[in-house]
Each structure stands twice: as structure tokens, then as C-alpha cells.
């Protein structure tokens, strides 16, 4: 379980772009925009965030709908809550383990 959540955290925080995207959607869960629009909101180009977007969509954290001009990205609030819970649990478990080791 711990290893699984460790891997998840690694994927979520794997690059600066991913951290910026996480922060953007965490602060603005109601954001629905095109990939280019999302990139604009964190001061980057569409091509810079494509890889990170793809990974977050695979994780189920972000949702992609539409195609071509109507392609839009939004947060999956349910999955976001699940992931947040996993992270909190991971931190709690890690803290407990550190105490036990000491």
C-alpha cells in the first residue's frame, strides 16, 4: 500500500509542469478549458503541458472531453478526493513508521 501510494505521489509530482497543474486544479476545481487555455493560465505553451496532461488523464485525475476545437480538460472531483485521501494516509503512515524506527 505504502509503495503504491509512493509511486502515485511520484507520478503526481514528477515535474514542475505537473506541480503547477496540480496547484491550478486544486485551487480552481471548476476550471474547464482547452489544453491551450489551461497552459495559458499557468503561463506556458500548450505543447509544454501535453505530456503532463496525458499522465493525469491516465490517472483519472483530469478528464478530457470533446475533440479538436472543442477539446476540453476538467478535474474529476471524485478522483481528486480519492487521491487526496491516499496522500494524507501515506503521510500519516510514513510519520508513524519514522516514529517506530526512532
Amino acid at each position: 500500500m505504502l509503495a503504491e501510494s509512493k509511486e502515485l505521489i511520484g507520478r503526481l509530482l514528477g515535474s514542475d509542469v505537473k506541480v503547477e497543474l496540480l496547484m491550478l486544479f486544486h485551487k480552481n476545481p471548476g476550471l474547464i478549458d482547452s489544453p491551450e487555455g489551461v497552459a495559458l493560465r499557468i503561463g506556458r505553451k500548450g505543447s509544454d503541458i501535453e505530456e503532463a496532461l496525458r499522465d493525469f488523464i491516465d490517472l483519472g485525475l483530469l478528464v478530457e472531453k470533446g475533440h479538436a476545437e472543442s477539446r476540453r480538460i476538467s478535474l474529476n472531483r471524485k478522483r481528486d478526493r480519492e487521491i487526496q485521501k491516499l496522500i494524507v494516509k501515506h503521510i500519516q503512515d510514513s510519520t508513524l513508521r519514522e516514529k517506530e524506527v526512532k
Binding site: K27, N28, G30, L31, I32, S34, G37, K65, S70, R72
Partner: protein, 488 residues
């Protein structure tokens, strides 16, 4: 017709209980006028007071900024989102229309079972769509919201704070209602005003209401309605000045309004306090509203005259309220007076002074304010003294002339120079429906307040401030002088 309350009481009252369910209302205003605050309040009140899910659609402001701004007013939108009572959706008009409105908004509306919506702002369509498409896409969005049964506020940014151009007004043809937020400048003070310009299926007064954005969001102050007083009384109310009550043949008529006009230092404030203290002695609660003197100064005057009011204050027979005219909008002042009268069950009131209030208003607005003030006082059967600081020694000032038609009674307090000394005289100009002594009477401010000395019968031209003895008095003087000379 089913109504959807905004939760802003005075606004709901103005539009017969609220917005018509399922209608779209345009909120027009310049930058910083409070459109977003009104929108957030509509959504928050909907969720917390009326159990309506709400959708806030923003094209510009990011949700985190809106959460922060709303939290400043105590509205936790994020908590509402977590409880699935509201959704703040941020998207671009471009995406909304290319992908289809339903594709973007159907899910959030369903998630919170939304009954009300805010679009912030409709003007943003202009930035993303060619001019020829703006109106049609706005129409499409409004129809989508109606189809979903949402009662909506469509925020619209006008190019100026005091109106808006023709282009700004284009959306008003599409909406069922239009509310305009504007700035009104009056003699150095700036008022925020709200006007209902259009509201289908609703009767509403075509007059400005003022509003303020405070710690709890927008508070609208609708003008109290003018009502004719039903009852008139022949009873008299003692002023607390024995000699004055004698001149007035028992006192001021109960439920009447009296203008007491005089220059600074003539004793208007003292007379007002004396009037209220007399009331308190008789068990009639009274309120002193001061726009000129801070409360500490009033208390100094009171203790200087050896009056102890603490007992009356404890028994809620007397209340002092000091504030600057600029602290509140004119409507808020009127509502505050109504609240004082209600809470204190006041029978007497002193308004010190109308001239202080006049300085912050244009002539017509001041007249309107005075009309509503006297209407409130009459309908509450409150006997009132309205002090007016006069700048002229003789004759009537413009304020006095304007107010004389509204006030039932007028008392003038004047300085007069008699034989190189400054004395004081009072003149009763008018007492509605009652007889009174028409003599010009000398008075003084003694150790226990205002005291009437007696009529100044031997002088004429007192109103000019420099009276002369009457011809008969001069004749008597001459005879006496000659007689004295003869004896010598």
C-alpha cells in the same frame, strides 16, 4: 408568479418579493460597482437561506480569487462546493460555444441540482466572438439557462460608472429584467445607487435606492415610502421650557414637526436636549440624533447644565446617537431613524441638524429626504424638533423656506443687539392648527437650560438683529429725558 429571493431584503421588497422564477436579469455597472459581489451573494444566499443549488459561471476571474473575495464577506463557497450546493465554473466563451453550452454546463448543473445561476460577465463574449455573433450567442446562453429552469443574474460591465453606452445596453433587450448599478456624486460625497429599469411581470418603483458594500456584502437601502399620516392630535407636548409652553399655549402639538432655526450659539441643541429630558421625566422615550456634535460634546453640554441623564438612559427613556451625515446614505439615515423609533418606542425626537444633512445633498434630493423624514415622524406619531443652523441674522434662509412647507411649526432663535449688548430672542413663525403668542420674546441660556425672560415689546426691527425702540417708547424716553433735564 413564483419568486426567487435574492436574500437582499430591500431589493426583494422593491421587486415584489424577488426575481421571477426562471427569468434572467441583467446587472449592469461599471468596474468596482459590486456586480460580482451581488452575484456571489445571490448564489450564497440561495444555497444557505433557500436551499437552492447555484452555478457561478466565470469567464475571467479564476475560482480561487472568487473563493477569496467571497470569504471576505463570510461566504465559504468552497465549503458549499464540497457539500455539492454550488459550483464555480471557469471557462472561456470560445470553448463554451464551440463545444456546446450543455457539454460544459450540464454536469455541474446536475451535480448541485442548480436552481440559480450567475454569468460573470456577459460582456466577455465581445472579447472572444465577432460582433455579429455576440447577440446570438448571448441569446443562446440565456435560453439554455431558461431551459434548465435556472433563475439567473447576467453581469454586464458598462464602459463607465455612471451609465453605459448603447453597446453596453444591447443585452438589456434580451434579458427579462435590468438592474443598473451606478455612482452618484453629490457635493463631494459619492453614493452607490441601484435602479430597477426593467422587470417583466413585476411592478416596481422607478426611483433610485442607495446601497453599500459592507462586511456582509451588499445592503440596499430603499427609500421609505411616503405615506399620509392618518391621525392628527389636538394634544400638546411640553417642551421643558415653561415660558415657551406658555407662548405655545400648552406646548408643541403632539406628533408635529418643528423647525428650530438659529445661528450657532443660539441654544438649539440645549432646547432639543431640554425637550427630550422633559419627555423622559414624563415617561415619553426620546432620541437625540446629532450630525454636528460628537456624543462626548453632547454629554459635556448636559453635565454643564447639571442634568443627569444616566437614569433615563438605563430606563431606555433617552438615547443619544452621533454620526456624520457622510457616514451613511440618505436612505440608510432614514432607516436608522425608523429603527431608533421602533426600538425605543420613541415619542420624541430631535434631529440636529437638517442643515448638516443639506450639505451632502442636491436641493431636490434634500427636499425628498426631508419629505420622507417628516412622513416617518408623522406616521410614528413622534413629536420632533428639527434643528436648522441658520447663516442669516434676519429673514428666512433657503433651507427654512424649503422646510417651512413640510414642517408644522417654525421657531426662530435670533441674536439681537440691544444697547450695545448681545441678547437672544425667539419668534414663533408658525404653529399648524393652533394659536400662539405672536410677540417676539427674549430668552437666555441659564444654569439649568433655556429660560424665557419676556416679550421685547419696546423694540421694533428685532429680526434685523439691530432693533430700535418703537416711536412710542422713543416719545416716552424723550419726555423722561426732558423731565430729567428740567429737574437738573
Amino acid at each position: 408568479m413564483e419568486r426567487v429571493k435574492t436574500g437582499i431584503n430591500a431589493l426583494d421588497e422593491t421587486i415584489q418579493g424577488g426575481l421571477v422564477k426562471g427569468d434572467s436579469t441583467l446587472i449592469m455597472g461599471g468596474p468596482g460597482m459590486g456586480k460580482t459581489t451581488l452575484g456571489l451573494q445571490f448564489i450564497f444566499n440561495g444555497a444557505t437561506l433557500f436551499g437552492d443549488g447555484g452555478l457561478y459561471l466565470t469567464f475571467e476571474e479564476m475560482p480561487d480569487r472568487l473563493y477569496r473575495d467571497a470569504l471576505n464577506f463570510g461566504w465559504d463557497l468552497k465549503a458549499l462546493e464540497e457539500k455539492d450546493k454550488a459550483r464555480v465554473i471557469c471557462t472561456s466563451p470560445d470553448l463554451l460555444f464551440k463545444g456546446g453550452i450543455g457539454a460544459v454546463l450540464d454536469d455541474p448543473i446536475k451535480e448541485v441540482n442548480a436552481k440559480r445561476a450567475v454569468v460573470d460577465t456577459l460582456s466577455h463574449l465581445r472579447l472572444f466572438l465577432p460582433e455579429s455573433k455576440v447577440r446570438i450567442e448571448a441569446y443562446r446562453l440565456i435560453n439554455y439557462l431558461k431551459k434548465k429552469g435556472l433563475t439567473s443574474l447576467l453581469l454586464c460591465e458598462t464602459s463607465s460608472r455612471d451609465g453605459g453606452s448603447e453597446a453596453d445596453r444591447e443585452f438589456s433587450f434580451l434579458a427579462d429584467g435590468v438592474i443598473q448599478l451606478q455612482l452618484q456624486r453629490e457635493r463631494g460625497s459619492v453614493l452607490q445607487t441601484m435602479t430597477v429599469e426593467k422587470m417583466r411581470g413585476t411592478g416596481f418603483p422607478r426611483q433610485l435606492s442607495t446601497f453599500e458594500i459592507g462586511g456582509h456584502g451588499i445592503t440596499v437601502y430603499a427609500k421609505p415610502r411616503l405615506k399620509m399620516a392618518k391621525e392628527t392630535s389636538s394634544e400638546k407636548v411640553k417642551t421643558g421650557v415653561l415660558g415657551l409652553d406658555k407662548i405655545l399655549e400648552g406646548g408643541l402639538p403632539k406628533g408635529s414637526s418643528t423647525i428650530v432655526s438659529g445661528a450657532v450659539g443660539t441654544g438649539k441643541t440645549v432646547l432639543g436636549l431640554q425637550f427630550l429630558i422633559e419627555g423622559a421625566k414624563l415617561g415619553e422615550p426620546g432620541v437625540f440624533i446629532s450630525y454636528e456634535e460628537p456624543e462626548s460634546q453632547l454629554r459635556r453640554i448636559i453635565s454643564g447644565l447639571n442634568w443627569d441623564i444616566s437614569g433615563y438612559e438605563k430606563k431606555r427613556l433617552l438615547k443619544l446617537d452621533s454620526l456624520y451625515p457622510e457616514d451613511l446614505t440618505p436612505e440608510a439615515h432614514l432607516l436608522r431613524i425608523m429603527r431608533h423609533i421602533e426600538e425605543m418606542k420613541a415619542k420624541r425626537l430631535v434631529f440636529d441638524s437638517v442643515s448638516a444633512m443639506e450639505h451632502m445633498m442636491e436641493r431636490d434630493n434634500f427636499l425628498d429626504f426631508s419629505k420622507r423624514l417628516t412622513s416617518i415622524l408623522k406616521n410614528s406619531q413622534v413629536t420632533a424638533i428639527l434643528n436648522n443652523t441658520s447663516r442669516s441674522i434676519g429673514g428666512m434662509t433657503i433651507t427654512e423656506t424649503m422646510l417651512s412647507t413640510l414642517a408644522d411649526n417654525i421657531i426662530m432663535l435670533r441674536f439681537v443687539e440691544i444697547e450695545s449688548s448681545m441678547r437672544k430672542a425667539l419668534i414663533i413663525v408658525k404653529v399648524r392648527g393652533s394659536d400662539f403668542d405672536k410677540h417676539i420674546t427674549e430668552y437666555a441660556i441659564a444654569s439649568k437650560g433655556l429660560e424665557v425672560i419676556g416679550p421685547l415689546e419696546e423694540y421694533e426691527g428685532i429680526l434685523t438683529g439691530t432693533p430700535k425702540k418703537t416711536p412710542s417708547e422713543r416719545f416716552v424716553d424723550t419726555i423722561l429725558k426732558r423731565a430729567r433735564e428740567g429737574r437738573e
